[in-house]
Amino acid sequence: MLAMLQARQLACLRGERRLFRQLDLTVHMGELWRIVGANGMGKTSLLRQLCGLRHLDAGDLFWQGQALAHERDAFHAGLLYLGHAPALNELLSPLENLHFACRAAGDEVSRSACEAALARMGLSRPMHLPCKLLSQGQRRRVGLARLLLASGRPLWVLDEPFTALDAAAVADLAALLDAHCGAGGAVIFTSHQDVIFQTSLKLLNVEDFAS
């Protein structure tokens, strides 16, 4: 089976310090990967390298068998990355933020589809308020609402998606990731809390590759 995303012999330097080296990772469709490691060991750096946001200090990335450097646009069309910051503007409402995020990413998503996604995330009421009035957990949910509109993107890379969510929202998100993997997608995420999934979880500990 062709790998969706393959990383070969990755290395990451931060300043003079080497975070990890000779890291191999092969992600197939239907797989759910959790990246673990203590704070400051390079989990976020690894995710950013996998997305093409951070340069590779060594190694290669392949998207569906092709070198990623030549396939950047196809790769970005198939990728959804949600970083540590929820990528919201404080002066815009959740609806405006979500609609903009989808359109800027090149997805043709209607306003009503965005409204429905926000309603499913439990944000019917603050949908039209400026984001500066929202709590941390609510902001997180606005960011995560993009997942509901990204079924066309097979690879999801999520940095700490469970942070600041309440128990019900954690269970909902876990179910969403399960459904995505069940539909032939793949998910790579980092988390410091243990969450129960239906899909069998694959683990990668960045500390194993620390030098």
């Binding site: 990355y81 990528a87 815009l92 090149g106």
Partner: protein
Amino acid sequence: MKSFFAVLHRDLLLAWRSRADLLIALAFFVIVASLFPFGVGAEPNQLRAIGPGVVWVAALLASLLALPRMFSQDHDSGVLEQLLLSPEPAVLWVAAKIAAHWLATGLPLVLISPLLGLMYGLDGASLAVLAASLALGTPILSLVGAIGAALTLGLRGAGSLLALLVLPLFVPVLVFGAGAVDAASAGMGVSAQFSLLGAGVLGAVALVPWACVAALRLACE
């Protein structure tokens, strides 16, 4: 082009929501230009002679005021990262950001400049040339300033560094812009200055978005 219009629409909406910031830059423009008569005296011929230069320098400084904000908010909130991950060409949305920035900060300067020119006793033809030269020149300021804003993104003291970086680059724009108004007041043709400013706009439009994208990618590493 989806990302171009998405970014243009959003940035103009944001400019409208934070219009107090824009009014501050505009008030700064008016106040700086109004200070000179107090310093150099109210002799009409002298004011008429320095008017074009003063209005142009004030416009340069006012446009500098809004530059650091062009990318910094989106950088801090993670929106820039998301834009860099868009499968659409990055130059499109960078061009949209610069266009929105000019519409929100440059265009008001152009529109209000005849009022300031009037204060310096410029005649009707000179006022028109002043506004037209600013209309051609301020897009260059936004474009060149965008490179500076992208290069200083995330640095300490980005605002003052940005000023040091881009102000020398604004000199040719100032020379041709103020020069056009001087020529008009002296009854000479202005086509040479306008042609050079126009060439500057076209050159900057062709080159700046690419340079900005490279700088923004570096800033987001």
